[in-house]
């Protein structure tokens, strides 16, 4: 036991110098707590989604199971899903058909392990970091694992031997590949600023350098859009577009195997929200307080920071549902053009600009602090105005009603006037 801890210590100097026994026990406790909170959170999220959806549509939502709030609705849904009959389509390739929900579910569960959720807890065995696995490659791990989730979806679509399921799986893979790149690119400015890929370091950097959403708004915007696309949520739910593909990749699934897909979607939502909070909203950093990332730590600070972290994450989960009932689904060409023709060039040029600014500031000898952050913030303001006020003029997404060039318009109008169907139309 002792030499494992010693090896871990050598591999990652950031690990606290707790004893091996304490390390293992505390890790186990953290695993159990995080897993429980995560799964219960995903279950309650199904209820929250239905409730918020209902409120936005001027309805009440579930209010029968477990009192007026419908609190036991997730439990009832779970029981229902376990009781349902498992069906296997005759033409499905069974081994992969069974494997696919598992492949979708496990990456969704795994990623949360590297997200820090609170200030370190001082105990008599040393400082316990509030993170399940304090990986030195933190953020890279998330990028690697979260893109594995697409295998579950693609294999589900393929093994179902159903054309709609296959189309859903293909769309999902195309979408994930397109947005994975923008997502990775959008976080590079954050990593440049923090100088590290460990999520704890990123949180600490934001605790004294200002939240990244203030300094790197465009990176946040790209990350937000990409996170929506990665989790297959509206307006990017093309893989399961009901009006076109029945249910998309999970058309042929039933009972708990079906249920694993929505559960992993909700888990991905939680992870993406937690990641947005960590990368851009200061993680567990308590707002309007300075230096809560350095000691002295206390149990109360840990508790407060966990509550703050959960509150921030809940806001983003609400945001997901809010957007769902605001924006309609993209057309497939809009999805691709937004990903490749707008977000990727924007993310790349943003990396260049931010890297240049950081290089300039560093070589000018400006220390990280208020001055540094305000210069970054000023640069950011200019860029935000550029992107949101000038670039956003029918160019972000090509809508069917975008202004056409005069010659195109004349050609379309003359074609329309020649059409036999528009005979007698005045316009």
């Amino acid at each position: 036991m002792m030499h494992i801890a010693a090896l871990l210590q050598v591999a990652d100097p950031q690990l606290p110098s707790t004893g091996a026994g304490a390390f293992i026990i505390f890790t186990l406790i953290k695993m159990i707590i995080v897993f429980t909170v995560y799964m219960v959170g995903a279950a309650l999220l199904t209820l929250a989604e239905r409730k918020v959806s209902a409120w936005i549509q001027n309805r009440h939502g579930p209010n029968r199971v477990g009192g007026r709030g419908g609190w036991l609705q997730p439990a009832a849904d779970g029981v229902k899903n376990f009781m349902k009959e498992e069906t296997y389509p005759a033409a499905a390739y069974k081994p992969i058909f069974i494997l696919a929900p598992i492949l979708a579910f496990i990456p969704a569960l795994t990623t949360v392990a590297v997200i820090p959720f609170g200030a370190p807890l001082p105990t008599r065995w040393g400082l316990i970091p509030m993170i399940v696995a304090d990986l030195p490659v933190g953020f890279l791990f998330i990028l690697a694992i979260s893109s594995l989730g697409v295998y579950g979806i693609v294999l589900a679509g393929w093994s179902s031997n159903n054309k709609y399921a296959l189309l859903g799986g293909l769309r999902s893979s195309a979408q994930m590949i397109s947005y994975e790149i923008s997502m990775g690119m959008s976080t590079i400015p954050v990593l440049l600023l923090a100088g590290n890929v460990t999520l704890n370091t990123i949180v600490n950097q934001q605790a004294y350098g200002g939240w990244n959403v203030v300094n790197l708004t465009i990176a946040f915007f790209i990350f937000l859009v990409a996170a929506f696309a990665e989790t297959n949520r509206l307006p990017f739910d093309l893989p399961e577009a009901e009006s076109e593909l029945i249910a998309g990749y999970h058309t042929e699934y039933s009972a708990m195997k079906f249920s694993l897909f929505p559960i992993s979607e909700y888990c991905n939502m939680i992870t993406a929200s937690a990641l947005m909070v960590t990368l851009f909203f200061g993680g567990w950093d308590v707002p309007f307080t300075g230096r809560d990332n350095v000691g002295p730590f206390s149990g109360w600070l840990t508790l407060l920071s966990i509550v703050i972290f959960l509150a921030k994450t809940l806001f983003f989960l609400f945001f997901y549902i809010w957007i769902r009932w605001t924006l309609p689904r993209f057309r497939y060409d809009q999805l691709m053009s937004l990903g490749w023709r707008f977000m990727l060039p924007l993310a790349l040029s943003y990396i260049v600009i931010i890297a240049a600014v950081i290089l300039a500031l560093d070589s000018a000898g400006i220390r990280r602090g208020a001055m540094y952050s305000s210069i970054l913030g000023a640069v950011n303001m200019v860029l935000v105005v550029l992107v949101f006020a000038i670039l956003d003029r029918g160019r972000i997404i090509s809508p069917s009603y975008a202004r056409s060039r005069a010659d195109q318009l004349a050609r379309l109008k003359s074609a329309a006037s020649r059409s036999p169907l528009s005979a007698g139309a005045t316009d």
Partner: protein, 164 residues
Amino acid sequence: MPIGVKVLDRPIEDVSYIRATIKGMGLTFKHLFADKVTVQYPEQKWGLSPRWRGTHRMLTTETGKAKCVACGLCPTVCPANCIKLIPGEDENGNRYPLVFEIDEFRCIFCGYCQEVCPEEAIHVGRHYENSEYSRAGFVYDLERLTSQTHPVCEMWDPEDPRGE
């Protein structure tokens, strides 16, 4: 085949996607706190129109017998052919229905039977909660029809077209 396409030339401010999104989010957020329109069905119910035509009811005389005189007008007028009537006659020469059955599955709830009835005996009712455990339960016999208590439909009156 070419179709007539209406080509819109919108002003450039209208195609700002982010502005439109924020506007839409404001709208949906307002709806979060708006009054709810749901009617909590088993506890709350909508009132029915006085001319609602639901499952039938046979009215009775003071002595508790069905008002029906088995004249045979309602099975004749019924467009769905859902009324089964076998007339009988007692020792005083009064006609009464030996069998009077309405198959509510076949019925199209047109209300002709109520309109045509000279004795105002058969009525369509203001009622919609009709679940049964078997299909046979939907063939209402005379006993079932007379024991129903729900209010009956008020037929449209040409003198009073708005029902006032």
